[in-house]
Amino acid sequence: MHPPQSNRSVTGMASSIEDSAPPGRGSFSRSARSGQPAAVTHLLGGTMRSVRVLGAIGIVLALAPLVLHSDFQLTFVTLALYSTLLGAAWNILGGFGGQYSFGHAVFFGLGAYVAAMLQVHAGVPAWIGLVAGVAAGAAAGAALGAISFRYGLRGSYFALVTLAMAEVFRIVANSVPFTGAGVGMMIELRTGLADLQFESRRGYYYLALVLALVALAVGSWVRHSRFGAALAAVRDNEDAARALGIDATRVKVAATALSGTLMAAGGVFYLQYFHYIDPSLVFGPSVSVEALLGPIVGGLGTVLGPLIGAFALALVSQIATHLLGEAPALSMALYGLILIVMVTFLPRGIGGLGKLVRLRARRGRDA
């Protein structure tokens, strides 16, 4: 697999966060305040724009429960945010870093299991479980990255090794006694903020919102930071990056660790929400697939891609069910079909749509 090209823009809100040039100003123009070229001010302003857009999204979503009286709608958004979290985690490595993992369940499962084992075996409070689970994800990310990238794995080889790693973890979790083996683990029902379990849907909603926003913010940081620039450089051209003094292996390992950290948070959230985990549920391939589907559909390597992708997929699923609800299998097949059609006609994900439109517009003007 080749490194993906970064999509520098996404539709709607996203374009304001990414790279749309200020309207009415050519690239020659200098911004009045700083005397710098517009492109510079624009790029420098990326962080602020991200903060603003994410802040706006955060505020809207934080206020949403006031409008969303229906529990179902609340759950729908909660699960879409949970999906966003997984997607944003994967996007750090897969989107910004160009390394496709098919085994992000490793980190997810580790986060969930570490948190569960601490709570069940050691009676540790859930918050500490969260921290420990997330730390485990970071450590696993660093280890897996170090092993894979030290050996120079890339493309499909990296994808396959992560896939196999997840299987190994699943089998081990299935076999050793302290994970409860195939029986799985169940945490005690104990609602309260201290236990990270909530009586009402809103509690989980806000937990998911905070985690998703943090993950998106990390994505935004990566997009606009030195580290992210190095990561994107390695993705786009590893040799050129090395020639400019970037330690490609270290950058990729760090990205894997960061990605693993966020993914593990997703695992802990799953545990706190559903209280029961078993090896197939948390180390199974469907977790990995859920993590990669959103960003690819939404726009790889963009800040808002995971969010757009997660919500779009959730909607597509609803539409499919709405159309063919009588036959669940058929509606699922329709979902798959829509996925294929989307890939065929939106090759760069929904995020690529904006770029395409602008390109067409520019061409139109030229003609």
Binding site: S27, Q36, A232, D236, D239, R242, L244
Partner: protein, 243 residues
């Protein structure tokens, strides 16, 4: 600034670079020339840490950097460009250059500095263009700008003029001269002899992996061995006869 001692690299029995030794003094522009396939680019890869030499030493600014990984060589201040330009596709011109600039700077400072460098190489009005949309000349400039943004002490330029038309070449020549004037030592691989003639202080001619001539541009271009290496056996005599 740069000293190569009996540098050698073989690929499957074939000597790509065969015992090359040279010394480039600080503040000079050196040129490595020779026909296609002579081993020039391999030589660059050996110097810049992309390939480990089989034998020989690379000493840069008094420090033995033989076998160092590429990113560390670059951090020492020895930065190369690529013959086949390697832009970070999908990123804008400004972003591309900023990657070079960010080694010693914050992201914001790197971006600001990148804009300055872009202006120096004549890309000041293309900052927000996607790198892959640049024509060849633009890409070459970008390649140069990115390396310059890393503020090298020694810059290795691999055919930075190839594919440019004479007007474009004429624009880039002063640029390279100004790089040297700003204190950067330059070693270039170049086919465009016009550039070598007007820029280089020292010229090394490589053919089939070995050095066949060393000297000033004037001396090497008159060297029959060099002409033969370039234009083929007997070319020197024929050209002389024709003109």
């Amino acid at each position: 600034m740069l000293e190569l001692t009996r540098l050698s690299k073989r690929f499957g029995g074939l000597a790509a670079v065969d015992s090359v030794s040279l010394v480039l003094e600080e503040g000079r522009i050196g040129a490595l020339i020779g026909p296609n396939g002579a081993g020039k680019t391999t030589c660059f890869a050996l110097i810049s840490g992309f390939i480990r030499p089989d034998e020989g030493r690379v000493v840069f600014a008094g420090r033995d950097i033989t076998g160092w990984p590429a990113h560390q060589v670059s951090r020492e201040g020895l930065v190369r460009t690529f013959q086949i330009v390697q832009p970070f596709t999908g990123q804008s011109v400004l972003e591309n250059i900023a990657v070079g600039a960010q080694r010693k700077r914050s992201r914001a400072a790197a971006i600001a500095f990148a804009a300055e460098v872009a202006a120096r190489v004549g890309l000041g009005d293309q900052l927000d263009k996607p790198a892959e949309s640049l024509p060849i000349a633009g890409r070459k400039r970008l390649e140069l700008a990115r390396a310059l943004a890393a503020e090298p002490r020694l810059l290795l330029l691999d055919e930075v003029l190839a594919g440019l038309n004479p007007a474009e070449v004429a624009e880039v020549l002063p640029l390279i001269e100004s790089i040297r004037a700003a204190g950067t030592t330059v070693l270039m691989i170049e086919h465009v002899m016009q550039a070598v003639m007007s820029l280089a202080d020292d010229v090394w001619v490589l053919a089939h992996g070995s050095l066949i001539a060393t000297g000033t541009p004037e001396s090497v271009t008159r060297d029959p061995a060099v002409i033969e290496a370039y234009l083929g056996h007997g070319a020197a005599a024929r050209l002389a006869g024709a003109t």
